[in-house]
């Protein structure tokens, strides 16, 4: 019995068991690899996607839980907020190794979609679930603020 998920506006009937984490469905079945595997237990945020607009750790979300929901990955974000975030990320040269940055951008985009003027505390609260071992945090904070200013 295939499970159908909708990723970036496209439906995919998957030959996968219902307990398959959304992360691996996206990566290994839909074959979009921008969403990253970091920990497998929602501790690092590298796998963050949007499910009906909500930032969601795909590594602990079974595909059975997201049938009929709109899943957006880093490859599919295109809102004004997302573009402002990506532009600020590039202008401030946020990424170093880059591996966690899809997740960082998905979390940052979700934050600004809800809160166009986040304080430092708001940024910490929204982004503390996203680990960056290169510690690009100083620039992540600056880039979120720069994107917020651009959108204002």
């Amino acid at each position: 019995m295939p499970v159908t998920i909708q990723v970036n506006g496209v439906s995919h009937a998957l030959d996968a068991t219902p307990d398959t984490p959304l992360l691996w469905a996206i990566r290994d079945h839909v074959r979009l690899t921008g969403t990253k595997f970091g920990c497998g237990m929602a501790m690092c945020g590298a796998c963050t996607v949007h499910v009906d607009g909500q930032p969601t750790r795909s590594c602990v979300t079974p595909i059975s839980a997201v049938q009929g929901k709109a899943i957006t990955t880093i490859e599919g974000i295109e809102s004004a907020v997302a573009q402002a975030i990506q532009q600020a990320w590039t202008e401030l040269e946020v990424p170093q190794c880059g591996y966690c940055q899809s997740g960082q951008i998905m979390s940052a985009t979700a934050l600004l979609e809800k809160n166009r003027q986040p304080s430092d505390a708001d940024i910490d609260a929204a982004m503390a679930g996203n680990i960056c071992r290169c510690a690009t945090y100083v620039r992540i904070r600056s880039a979120i603020k720069q994107a917020a200013e651009q959108l204002a």
């Binding site: 068991t17 691996w24 595997f37 490859e75 946020v94 990424p95 071992r133």
Partner: protein
């Protein structure tokens, strides 16, 4: 979803273009193919017309694209951008035409000039060893393009100008782009290196500017890491590793695993039992269903607590002498004041965001590997040995690495060998080995645990007269191919670096080492020995200053009069941090200065201590002297990141063993720094005309002692252990 079943690609993947084809035929590979970061775009231009390849590092296409072949791994440190800057500078290229492409494993062309005959990235050497080489590569290409223009236009070469990728001759009004002259340039004789004139630094157009990075694709998910490689017919492998170091498989039952959906095969290899599936989740579920009886008769069953006890006992006894100036023992005996401390630092995992992984394909022709490859010729040689191949039959594709911090330069090629042995059992099928975070945390190759015992003495005037330091811990170099270079007369230089070359003017100074033999796998970890020597030495120097009732900055400056670069960065950091200015109640300020990898870094940390006994690092002001600054913004990013990485170890991270088992498994118990713990950081770069040195590692060592010294200033407590904790 489409599962790739055909396996028409039986031959060894022979070129990157074949790799591109493989990827484009693998399901939704179009996305990947369009966005391959390293080389694919350049490859497509290479097909048309004749490229100009004056040397192993530069290729100019007829479309004007300038491809720089990268002998060093891009793992976030900005090396692609830095090396390309050197080429573009001497070539007078248009920066927007530059493309980075990973070089193959070939030490005859791509060795690290500071590593002897080894091709690899580490020790913050990429810029230092490439500075003249890459500039020369660019200058060679430029000279040949100029010769081509002179021939075509029939004008003297000396009258031709080059700027931003355009050659021009003002008298005749002729001009042409690199691409138009590429074919003719390829026919020019390669000039003798002696005839090339590299630019005067005053004429640098790119060096010293913060050019945009070349490792793009990191904001839209298109950058390709090993984890993202998809090849036709590829299987994913997970390995069940032994629960203790030194254990092996006695017996296993794979029936349940093999019956699990999506599992294709189960293979025993020396490091454990591999389960191969069509995808990660199938392989993971299969691995969970394995029944394994481990032989732990010779396994390591030690605990960190016992090891610490043993280390501390050893620290009371004389060790092998790494440095001996004067007579420290006698001087200590006659010192007016003696400070003494025993420092402890734990094992640490590298915990790169991309857990270890590698893709391998083995067939009759040889072996091909896709990897965030940091140690090309070491891995190539190790793989050739285990598979019984010649090194040239092992082809390595260097992909971007999702961090490494040293881990992907494993002197034993551990995870790479694991991948090729699994692939060897399924010849003709590409296999992606994926370690989970738990595998990555528990399989070892840690920064070793160390104990330092330091005794230092002042005379009646408050001048340091004696210093005795004993370091106890495992040797990283022993038993590796690097032993002859790293270990001399029983001293592993990576165990004592930063202490054996202590810069302070102290007449009687002795540094000793006990190298302990434990079967816990250890390896270099961002800044290696400096991770612990900076911690102990810079805390003791602060304690000496306190005992001498002197300001810690002034005290250091006096002792560094013979070391102008240490002196200058310390002065700069103190000035920029407004050292001595009042702080809010409960705050403290601390300083540390340390040289590593020929770069000099001073940091001033400010901490706030809350009533409830918690504390926060609020601000770090840093001064760095890394010689000529090639790309100031990348230097700042590396120092910011190095501080953040060091803060994880200073505040949070610890690997411990209990009865031989690693107690931690994932980011909940091996904690690392998060954004809410990141201080504000200022980085100031010392103007310098010295040859450039590295910045990947030197930002890390000073932060732990700077924070410890700040906490001492705020609380009066002493700190001798990492991660730092306040006494309640």
């Amino acid at each position: 979803m489409r599962r790739i079943r055909s396996n028409k690609h039986q031959g060894l993947v022979s070129s990157r273009r074949d790799f591109l084809k493989l990827i484009t035929t693998a399901g939704a590979g179009l996305t990947l193919a369009m966005n391959l970061p390293l080389a694919m775009a350049a490859e497509s231009t290479a097909a048309a017309g004749v490229d100009f390849e004056p040397n192993a590092f530069v290729r100019i296409g007829t479309d004007g694209r300038v491809t720089v072949l990268m002998k060093h791994l891009e793992m976030g440190q900005g090396t692609f951008t830095g090396l390309a800057t050197l080429v573009a500078e001497e070539l007078d290229a248009d920066w927007s035409a530059l493309v980075a492409e990973g070089a193959p494993a070939d030490a005859s062309r791509y060795n690290n000039l500071l590593f002897g005959t080894v091709q690899g990235t580490g020790g913050s050497t990429a810029m230092a060893n490439s500075f003249m080489q890459m500039r020369t590569a660019g200058a060679t290409a430029r000279a040949m393009l100029v010769a081509a223009a002179a021939q075509r236009w029939k004008v003297p070469a000396s009258e031709i100008q080059v700027s931003q990728g355009i050659l021009s001759h003002s008298a005749s009004g002729k001009s042409a782009g690199f691409g138009e002259l590429a074919e003719l340039a390829a026919q020019q004789p390669v000039p003798d290196v002696q005839s090339l004139r590299l630019k005067d630094p005053a004429d640098f157009a790119y060096i010293g500017r913060s050019l945009p990075r070349l490792d793009r694709g990191k904001t839209d998910g298109s950058a390709l890491f090993t984890q993202d490689v998809q090849l036709e017919g590829m299987l994913t492998a997970l390995v069940a590793h032994p629960p203790r170091f030194g254990a092996s498989v006695k017996h296993y039952d794979a029936a349940k695993a093999l019956a699990s959906p999506g599992v294709v095969d189960v293979v025993q290899i020396p490091s454990g039992i591999a389960v191969l599936g069509h995808d990660f989740w199938s392989a993971k579920k299969g691995r969970d269903l394995l029944s394994i009886d481990w032989d732990e008769s010779v396994a390591f069953t030690g605990s960190s607590a016992d090891m610490l006890h043993k280390y501390r006992t050893l620290a009371d006894q004389p060790g092998a002498v790494a440095r001996a100036d004067g007579d420290a023992v006698t001087a200590l005996a006659s010192a007016t004041t003696v400070v003494e401390a025993v420092f402890e630092v734990p094992y640490l995992a590298h915990a790169a965001m991309e857990p270890m992984n590698a893709v391998a394909l083995v067939n009759a022709a040889g072996c091909e590997i896709w990897n965030g490859e940091q140690f090309q010729t070491v891995d190539q040689s190790a793989v050739a040995t285990v598979l019984g191949l010649k090194p040239e039959q092992v082809k390595i594709n260097m992909l971007l690495a999702g961090g490494s911090f040293g881990r992907r330069a494993n002197p034993h090629s551990d995870y790479v060998i694991e991948a090729v042995l699994i692939a060897n059992a399924r010849q003709g099928t590409p296999v992606k080995l994926v370690w989970t975070r738990e595998d990555d945390t528990r399989a070892g190759y840690y920064r070793p645990m160390y104990v330092h015992k330091v005794r230092a003495g002042l005379d009646a005037s408050g001048n340091p007269v004696a210093w005795e330091q004993r370091i106890v811990g495992q040797s990283i170099g022993t038993g590796t191919a690097f032993e002859a270079f790293i270990v001399k007369d029983g001293i592993d230089s990576t165990s004592v670096e930063g202490a054996s070359n202590l810069p302070y003017q102290i007449p009687n100074l002795q540094v000793e080492l006990h190298s302990v033999d434990n079967p816990v796998p250890v390896q270099w970890w961002r800044s290696v020995g400096h991770t612990h020597t900076a911690f102990s030495t810079e805390i003791i120097v602060d304690e000496l200053a306190r005992a001498a009732k002197q300001d810690p900055v002034d005290f250091r400056l006096k002792l560094l009069s013979q070391h102008p670069r240490h002196h200058a960065v310390l002065k700069m950091a103190a000035e920029k941090a407004n050292w001595g200015a009042a702080l809010p109640a409960g705050w403290g300020r601390g300083v540390a200065v340390h040289e590593s990898f020929n770069s000099f870094v001073a940091q001033v940390a400010e901490v706030s201590v809350q009533e409830n006994g918690s504390f926060k690092v609020e601000r770090v002001v840093c001064a760095v002297d890394c010689g000529l600054a090639i790309n100031p913004d990348i230097i700042r990013t590396q120092i910011e990141g190095g501080i953040g990485f060091g803060l994880s170890a200073a505040l949070l991270s610890e690997i411990t063993l209990k009865d031989g088992r690693v107690a931690q498994s994932n980011f909940h118990d091996f904690q690392v720094l998060r954004i809410n713990q990141m201080p504000a950081i200022e980085v100031h770069i010392m103007p310098s005309a010295e040859a450039p040195t590295g910045v990947g590692e030197p930002g890390t060592p000073p932060i732990a002692p700077a924070v410890a010294n700040a906490l001492s200033a705020a609380t009066g407590q002493r700190f001798q252990r990492l991660p730092l904790k306040l006494n309640s």
